[in-house]
């Protein structure tokens, strides 16, 4: 294994691991404060129990997210020092802002998790609200930095060196809005769906369980609308990629030849050697229509780029198909659930919906992993698109297979422990939950 490959794999493993915890850190606080607010409003203690339980899960996940995020901030330099040397002054700004947002998140998460009986109920809820807002902002700032790598702006290149640096223009890069919107919605959809799926699993054998019924309702309130509108933000992302990174779009779609009125390929396997995508279902003019909103538009194929500037086509295409496919399923399931809720139906009597929610539970996270594969692998061979090659950014440190192996083993181990702990702490039904509290009881108890 070359050092470059080891460095890329270590970065991939670190990102793939951290993104799960980062997403939960954005989504779970929203679920917790919704549940806690309902408890304030209705006095129904099952909502308080729900907030407690979700908070326990969040505590475990947030801790692992905080330390794995620290690893990433160092790895930017440990693995890609030549990248940071050039990009730091241009794109360090959103990272600095993220630092402060994360600080706020960590402070108020401490208040939230440990302050149940130390601060007033209103202050507690407000602390949760601050965690939710700053968690969302942290994600947005980091994604802005990533968007800049795809659509670098805010500097001029003179003799290969960036000059006339404008960090604000870099933050307002053309990919920033679409990417941050897409990722923020993805975080809410993925968190909402995995929580909904877990509680749907409990409701299948026990549909009257009041605890899980409340949990399902709150989780769907967050997850379903996000999944429903996500295809629209995906369309926005796609069109930015079409304009700014045509080679990435060609890889996503398995488009080898430049074509007027290019078809949309669903599925299929791109064969880089033969220069064609086999076994795909083709919808005539579909890609031109989607990418440029014009059925006659010309879509650049990979043949428009020198071979050394191609991203790995098969990986990007398959990852994109996975993301779009699973994302579509989530949007449909979300629409189904929302339609039933809008009609005032009892979701737990629709067993096929519960089953669909169980199946869709992990899909949000699979979509996120696949989507980041599209973004990151699709940007190759560049670390800063058309400015700096990944191969020129890597550290001169030899033997990078060693840290790659260590971090991979460490993260596999931690991942197993986290799953086991969540199973014990959060997934098992609370013993007393079957005895429902009267829903209409409006007296607030305790505290």
């Amino acid at each position: 294994m070359t050092d470059l490959l080891a460095a890329r794999l270590q970065m991939a493993v670190s990102l793939a691991f951290h993104i799960v915890f980062a997403v939960v850190g954005i989504g779970m606080p929203v679920l917790m404060i919704l549940a806690e607010r309902r408890w304030h409003r209705t006095g129904d203690r099952l909502f308080l129990e729900l907030a407690h339980r979700w908070a326990r899960g969040t505590a475990i996940l947030f801790a692992v997210g905080a330390v794995s995020g620290t690893v990433l901030s160092f790895e930017l330099g440990l693995l890609w020092p030549r990248f940071m040397e050039r990009a730091g002054a241009i794109i360090g700004m959103p990272f600095s802002l993220e630092g402060f947002a994360f600080f706020t998140e960590a402070i108020f998460l401490g208040v939230y998790l440990y302050g149940w009986d130390r601060v007033s109920p209103r202050a507690h809820l407000a602390a949760g609200g601050l965690v939710a807002v700053s968690g969302g902002l942290s994600g947005i700032f980091v994604v802005i930095a990533n968007a800049w790598m795809n659509a670098p702006t805010g500097f001029d290149l003179v003799d290969g060196r960036p000059v006339n640096i404008d960090p604000i223009a870099a933050m307002l890069n053309p990919a920033a809005f679409a990417q941050t919107l897409h990722m923020t919605l993805a975080a809410y959809a993925a968190t909402g769906f995995i929580v909904a799926g877990i509680h749907a699993l409990h409701l299948l054998p026990d549909p009257r369980n009041a605890f899980h019924r409340r949990a399902l309702a709150v989780a769907l309130l967050v997850g379903a609308p996000a999944a429903l509108v996500q295809p629209l933000s995906g369309d926005l992302c796609g069109r930015v990629v079409a304009r700014r990174q045509p080679a990435k779009l060609a890889a996503m779609e398995g488009q080898f030849r430049t074509e007027v009125g290019a078809p949309l390929r669903i599925g299929g396997w791109p064969d880089e050697r033969a220069g064609e995508t086999r076994y795909a279902i083709e919808i005539p003019k579909g890609l031109s229509l989607l990418a440029f909103h014009d059925p006659g538009a010309t879509v650049k194929g990979l043949d428009a780029f020198p071979r050394r500037d191609w991203p790995p086509v098969a990986v990007v295409h398959v990852a994109f198909q996975v993301m779009v496919g699973l994302g579509s399923v989530m949007a449909l399931v979300g629409a189904w659930a929302l339609a039933l809720m809008a009609c005032g139906r009892d979701l737990t009597t629709h067993r096929w919906l519960l089953r669909a929610l169980v199946v869709a539970a992990p899909m949000g996270f699979l979509c996120i992993e696949a989507g980041w594969t599209v973004t990151e692998v699709g940007r190759q061979p560049w670390v800063i698109y058309e400015v700096l090659r990944t191969a020129d950014a890597v550290t001169p440190m030899p033997g990078l297979v060693v840290p790659f192996t260590i971090f991979t083993l460490l993260y596999c181990f931690l991942g197993l422990i986290v799953v086991w702990l969540l199973y014990r702490q959060v997934l098992k039904s609370p013993a007393a939950a079957a005895e429902a509290m009267p829903v209409g009881a409006r007296s607030r108890e305790g505290v």
Partner: protein, 335 residues
């Protein structure tokens, strides 16, 4: 001072402020892990419970100071970050593994309730990681101070990637960092302890750690005279050196005196001052370099526009964060 402070100087100073925050707060959390490892006597379990209670609500916020150090460094002084991350790849990676294991194990122990054998094992991981990580941090800080980080003119794996940090001086700096963190933690815990017996436990530990700090500091200084002439010169020959040493020594004596007299609030104040003065002494010994002996603060600085924006961001961030931090500590800490 012969010249006024430039904008890069101010930002370098802010990085030291953040590092100082990390040492005083995050450092003490690591020190807590050291005392978890060394917990002993009839009150062993209560010592551990007190440490966990003291760290629990705040360690994640305390940890963010390190992230602030890193992002300010790579935004404002990108070449310095690139050079440090390249040469110190090995100790930094080991430190990260320590950070990951410390944080994860602490949380796993807290939530693995009902199974005391497993909790004990996680506690062990937490304690060992807490004890090893500060040594590696100190090694990196020492390597920077000794002027061995720049790669120019070096060839071969050992010369570039190992020799700069595997020196008696750097190991001394590592031991000193560990002793300082343990000292801070023990002093803080005397304030946090609710009963006299536990207070006495940590008072004895604080006094022991103070002795360890003294030994490690003397050893490091001796190694500096031989192995890190740049630091040694900074720490002895500069005009500010003597007043700084006097102030540091006075704070140390005050901390020990207050511990002796069981005036724990005062001891906490003096210990904090002592450790902060050591951090600033280290920083001043580097000045005007950021990666001695080649990269100066002015030479490594990002363009003015970036520095100005970061200053605004820090000002805004501080305005929001300080009240929040005060709020956090008022809820969970005794004054």
């Amino acid at each position: 001072m012969t010249h006024s402070l430039t904008r890069p100087d101010v930002l370098a100073g802010l990085i030291v402020v953040a590092l100082n925050g990390y040492v005083l707060l995050g450092g003490a959390d690591f020190g807590g892990g050291v005392w978890d490892l060394l917990a002993s006597g009839p009150r062993r379990d209560r010592q551990r419970a007190l440490i966990a209670e003291a760290i629990g609500p705040i360690w994640e916020a305390n940890h963010v100071w390190l992230i602030i150090v890193i992002v300010l460094l790579f935004t404002c002084f990108p070449p310095a970050f690139a050079e440090l991350a390249t040469t110190l790849h090995i100790p930094l990676t080991l430190m990260l593994i320590g950070i990951v294991l410390r944080g994860s194990a602490f949380t796993f122990r807290a939530y693995h309730n009902g199974d005391s054998a497993t909790q004990l094992r996680w506690g062990r991981v937490f304690a060992i990681a807490s004890s090893v990580t500060p040594v590696l941090l100190g090694v990196c800080v020492g390597a920077l101070a000794s002027g061995a980080v720049p790669r120019a003119g070096k060839t071969g794996f050992t010369a570039v990637f190992v020799a700069p940090w595997l020196t008696p001086f750097c190991l001394g700096a590592g031991a000193l960092t560990l002793a300082l963190f343990a000292f801070l933690a023990a002093v803080y815990l005397t304030v946090e302890a609710r009963d006299v017996a536990l207070q006495e436990d940590f008072r004895r530990r604080a006094l022991g750690a103070a002795l360890a700090v003294f030994v490690a500091a003397a050893g490091t200084l001796a190694a500096a005279l031989r192995g890190a002439p740049l630091t040694a010169r900074g720490l002895t020959a500069m005009p500010w050196a003597l007043p700084l040493h006097v102030a540091t020594g006075a704070a140390a004596v005050a901390a020990i005196g207050a511990l002796w007299a069981r005036r724990y609030g005062l001891a906490r104040l003096a210990a904090g001052a002592q450790v902060s003065l050591i951090v600033w002494g280290w920083a001043l010994a580097l000045y005007p370099y950021i990666v001695p002996p080649t990269l100066t603060i002015a030479g490594a600085a990002a363009p003015e526009v970036t520095l100005t924006l970061v200053l605004w961001a820090v000002a805004g961030g501080a305005l929001a964060l300080f009240p929040s931090l005060v709020y956090l500590f008022r809820i969970f800490k005794r004054s």
